[in-house]
Amino acid sequence: MKPRRFNMRSLILNTGSSLLLPLLVLFSLFLLLRGHDEPGGGFIGGLVAAAAVALKLFAEDYKAARDMLRVHPLQLVGIGLVLAAVASLPPLFVGESFFTAQWWSLDLPIFGELKLSTPLLFDIGVFLGVIGTVLTVVFTLAEAEHS
């Protein structure tokens, strides 16, 4: 097999992606937070965010996508897993069973009530984990084409 260069430069995609990218990232965050008590959540949010980076990869090139992410995708998986694992621990300190959901609400002056919880922490962990996993796969394949 002859390795082919990654060559999908298209003006339309290039221009479109710079508009779409922030929207996709915002939408992924929206999905992540909405997953609290409505359809959505960390997994689907992570997929959308990963799709945003993949779009960058298609519109520009491998290097641009890597630079956009800054960290190694596997490190994202690591951080995500740490968050998800840590989310299982707080109930132990209040004498409840492992992984029981804990809720805290904060009253902020301007924004009103802010609900924090261990499921949210877990979801953020899933979010990062999914981004990392998907991008590891995508980058591995792109790297193979790239070199």
């Binding site: 596997l74 690591g78 897993l81 694992a85 132990l92 069973s97 492992f98 029981t100």
Partner: protein, 500 residues
């Protein structure tokens, strides 16, 4: 309440360790420290869990306070706790061994995180009380093992990995199908609850069908006859430390799953299922050892022996008498330590002798007598020479076979023991005893092998101890077997006596 969390620790510790080592991916020494110290911590927690379970009885943790059978439960009975301790011992030994043998290139690709993830998956499979959760842990350990298997990316690894991946995914799909049918039949996924509801069904035909599906799925994972060929095609290809942990743990997860479902859930039609298991056991023992006889590469010989040993463990389950189950559990305990150790010894043989091929090896006894002793202990134990651990394991199983009147199985088990001895003597003669075929100056024998010797010595000492202090080990196996034969205790511990 306080000690309940102990059941979750063997899963959460390796998960956290894996995650932490991923975040410090480029810092190799931090990864190594996390590997060695973390697995030591895991070992301590597992032993604690085992002692606690032995004292207090079956431990149940309802994850997230969701009551069984609605939530996922983690259950630590004697079998599960023993398996977790064995997994932690293997993990600790592998982590120590990896300190000196794993190259930087592999560390950069996430060797240590994968190792921790593998351990988390294995421990999760041993501790969960939910059939679908068991599937999830199976997949976790599979994904980790896939990646570990191809670290390095050599041709042989790729070819082996394709077979490994295909057969294991096929097995997973069958497992999932069986779970689906189970859910359709009884509408629950909690294993204790499934056991209760399956027993109360009028039509047992569908139950037998599901049992067969589980049997095939787990038999593939355990590398039992006739679907074992993925194992010798792949286990000798990766790093030695990886081979060791695979050899020690992965197939045993399949065996554990067989033990779990065929003592807890599918006990109604033992005349059918356990008869099949008996024949599987006989053929697995025989084909494994005959395959090994034809091989002349150390790791391949050892891989085929894994298969024949799996046969013994399944034999314990198939006979389904108290003594046979004790023998089976004892066999698993002995086997995991011995098998992992033999692969580690093979790695050291390669470092010192420069090859895995018996033809190219030689003179190891003259040059490294210490290694020769450390090879003989697990090798003779594997073959079942008294007073080492393997002797007692085989003795109990064969006694159980005689009592149950399974003469074919007894005869084959004895024959296979003899052939195993032949195999081990073959390695001894070729690699250790005969003169070195040619002075091999091309391979600079690496020095500073003290840590490797210590690791192997530690496992060898455990083998000797299991042999010399067989009584307390036997008692633990007896407790495990008693719990397996009396599933009502497990069911009551999970469902709290209030069967819905």
């Amino acid at each position: 309440m306080d000690l309940e969390v102990l059941v979750a620790l063997p899963i959460i510790i390796p998960l956290l360790l894996g995650a932490l080592s991923l975040t410090v991916l480029s810092n190799h020494s931090a990864q190594r420290w996390l590997g060695a110290i973390g697995t030591a911590l895991l070992l301590i927690c597992s032993v604690w869990l085992l002692l606690h379970t032995r004292e207090v009885g079956i431990q149940v943790l309802e994850v997230g306070s969701w009551p069984a059978p609605f939530g996922i439960v983690l259950v630590s009975d004697m079998l599960g706790a023993i398996m977790v301790v064995l997994a932690s011992i293997t993990g600790f030994a592998t982590a120590l061994y990896s300190l000196k043998t794993v190259r930087k290139r592999f560390e950069r690709f996430g060797y240590y995180p994968l190792l921790h993830l593998l351990l988390a998956g294995v421990n999760g499979a041993f501790l969960t009380g939910d059939i679908f959760n068991l599937y999830v842990w199976f997949e976790v350990l599979l994904v980790a093992s896939f990646a570990l298997l191809i670290l390095g990316g050599e041709r042989a690894q790729m070819e082996g990995a394709i077979k490994y991946v295909t057969l294991n995914l096929l097995s997973s799909a069958l497992f999932l199908t069986a779970i689906g049918l189970t859910y359709g039949l009884v509408g629950t996924l909690n294993m204790a609850d499934i056991a209760v509801k399956m027993a109360s069904l009028e039509d047992q035909k569908m139950v037998t069908v599901i049992a067969s599906l589980f049997l095939i799925a787990f038999a593939i994972k355990a590398a039992a006859f006739p679907l074992f060929f993925w194992l010798p095609a792949s286990y000798h290809t990766p790093q030695v430390a990886v081979s060791a942990i695979f050899a020690g743990l992965l197939t045993k997860v399949g065996v554990y799953a067989l033990y779990r479902v065929f003592t807890l859930i599918f006990t109604a039609d033992t005349g059918f299922t356990h008869e099949i298991l008996l024949w599987i056991a006989i053929f697995t023992m025989l084909t494994g050892v005959l395959g090994a006889a034809a091989q002349f590469e150390v790791r391949r010989i050892l891989s085929f022996h894994i298969i024949s040993q799996i046969g013994y463990m399944i034999l314990g389950l198939a006979l389904f008498t108290p003594l046979a189950l004790i023998g089976g559990v004892f066999y698993i305990m002995h086997h995991i330590i011995v098998k992992a150790n033999l692969f580690l010894v093979a790695g050291l043989m390669y470092r010192l002798g420069g090859s895995f091929e018996l033809k190219k090896l030689g003179g190891l006894y003259r040059n490294h007598p210490g290694l020769a002793v450390l090879f003989l202990i697990p090798a003779l134990s594997l073959a079942g020479v008294p007073p080492l651990s393997g002797f007692f394991a085989k003795f109990i199983l064969i006694k159980a076979g005689v009592e149950a009147g399974a003469w074919w199985a007894v005869g084959i088990a004895l024959l296979v023991g003899l052939l195993t001895l032949f195999s081990m003597i073959k390695i001894w003669n070729e690699a250790f005893w005969k003169a070195s075929p040619e002075p091999n100056p091309a391979v600079p024998a690496p020095t500073r092998n003290a840590l490797l010797y210590w690791t192997i010595g530690l496992l060898a000492a455990m083998t000797v101890c299991i042999g010399l202090f067989a009584q307390p080990i036997y008692q633990m196996a007896e407790m495990a077997a008693a719990q397996l034969l009396n599933p009502a205790g497990y069911i009551e511990a999970v469902l709290g006596g209030t069967t819905p």
